[in-house]
Symmetry: C2
Subunit: 290 residues, 2 copies
DNA sequence: CATGATATCTGACTTTAGTCAGATATCTGG
DNA sequence: CCAGATATCTGACTAAAGTCAGATATCATG
């Protein structure tokens, strides 16, 4: 009925008024939006004045005045940095924390309001995740992490759950050769997590072995982040890391029930090889020389 | 990983900056946002001053000044309405249409930008439709329309396509008893379309018969609008219309492959009855006395 | 320790948005 | 035709946001 651009614009209109409502509720606390935004940035852990200014896109004069007005209200304190007295740090006072908490409550209430009365919350949240990931595509950061940290374990949990859904016989981690975490840490290997504005949306592991090659394991991209070519980015980053570690040969196993993975490997220089392990789940094996 | 409120707030952040970018590009045309918004409202067919003021939520004094500034620029002309000289109508001049076209191009470019480089456009658009429908839930209007108009036919097309996907044997309209359009128009029946900000997102038909009852046909809710209790609203509105038309007994047929429909009927006072027609598709039959 | 770079602050502005009371013109119903 | 309602306009204001030039203090470097 509507062409794609009209659908996007309908979305824009809908979302603009919902977001505008949050601004209005912020104004209800008797403070201009500019000051409220600075207070909230500080509350969310941004303490350097220059960082806040940059984040909010403010002129330095305006920023200075906003800080002064928050100080006059007794909500923040500023101090020169010890290592560089030109830079200033801002932090909340006790009263400032109270005020910040009140803003947080408003934000959460608005968020709950958007979800309320929608009988398919999960679908709505999934749509929001998808759009947020798409819009922040260029800002997705790939971070090396310990595979046992919270974010990595969240990704792995989602990965296993998805395999369970995609494999007709289900998936039981304990039957698979669960890679030892220390093989996926430097210097033997590494583990990368893709973070989009605090939310992990993908991962991949590089597992060192003693057989003259390293393995790519646990490549996962959140359903909300598919279509952003994140799988390719994760693979590229892992290959770079492998080169850095002096690894010359990479192998991986996968399953034909995951056709998009196989397609990615084939289109990026991987070559199919015969089975090289006895894991019960994979039925496709690849190799790539770096 | 993130709780629901945090996911909504991540979505808010992502979307705010994307929408802010559009405002910035509008400013690039050397006109304050307020004036640009009025110009665009007129370009989109809103001609009554009061209607525009209401739509944009402007004070009457401010509105008057914005109109004046657009007139001074030579972009619009205003005139008193013939039937009521207190009210004014605004329309674009030739220069105004040019300027409006330029704004449209900016909007479309931004929309294309959001879609660009995403290899799963359809999923992204579906997510946007879902969210737009959810956010404008209270503003969904149910309008009586001729079942042969564009919007009604769009809904019916989507409805048939969905039946094709849901029925294991597919769905061929010509095999079903396609209700005659004139039976779904006053005074024999009616046809309702749910419109969410220009997009049709649901429909239902009330078909008059000569057998002492009327039938509910073609109840459809767009996938993007599920969970908003729109099906129930459409049914309620149709029952009201039926009462208005002096109809005392309603019947409908459906299929057990559409469980959510059956559940809706059962929970709103419909009673299962034996088959009352020889249509090949339905296998469940309901009746409700008004 | 002089010099240029950097971070922040201050003062003096402008623009935009918005508010509000009253003026003006027109309409509607008795 | 009159009284009250309605739609718009005008003038006089305020608040918020943003701009910009220059002042001040501090740092890094040769």
């Amino acid at each position: 009925m509507l062409d794609p651009a009209s659908r996007v614009r309908r979305f824009n209109r809908a979302v603009t008024s919902a977001v505008g409502a949050l601004d209005t509720s912020f104004l209800g606390r008797g403070r201009p939006l500019g000051a409220a935004r600075v207070l909230n940035a500080i509350g969310h852990g941004r303490s350097e004045v220059a960082e806040i200014r940059d984040y909010l896109g403010l002129d330095s004069g305006l920023m200075s005045r906003l800080l002064r007005s928050l100080e006059d209200e007794g909500l923040i304190e500023t101090a020169a940095r010890e290592d560089d007295a030109r830079r200033r740090m801002a932090k909340l006072t006790r009263a400032g924390r109270r005020e910040f908490t009140a803003y947080e409550a408003l934000s959460n209430a608005q968020a709950e309001g958007l979800l309320a009365q929608h009988s398919q919350r999960d679908a709505l949240l999934a749509a929001m995740d998808l759009i947020a990931s798409a819009l922040t595509r260029e800002r997705v950061a790939l971070e090396e992490m310990d595979p046992r940290c919270d974010q990595a374990r969240y990704c792995l949990g989602e990965y296993y759950a998805e395999l369970g859904r995609r494999f007709s016989q289900g998936f039981d981690v304990s039957l698979s050769r669960d890679p030892d975490a220390k093989d996926m840490r430097r210097p033997r290997g590494t583990f990368l997590v893709a973070i989009s504005d605090t939310l992990p949306i993908g991962c991949v592991g590089l597992k060192g072995t003693d057989h003259g090659y390293a393995e790519i394991k646990r490549l996962w991209v959140a359903p909300a982040a598919r279509g952003l070519r994140l799988g390719r980015r994760l693979m590229d980053a892992t290959e770079s890391a492998a080169r850095e570690l002096g690894i010359a040969l990479l192998r991986l196993d996968t399953n034909s029930a995951l056709p998009e993975a196989g397609q990615l490997y084939r289109s990026t220089g991987w070559r199919e090889i015969p089975r090289f392990n006895d894991d019960p789940y994979p039925d496709l094996f690849f190799e790539k020389r770096l």
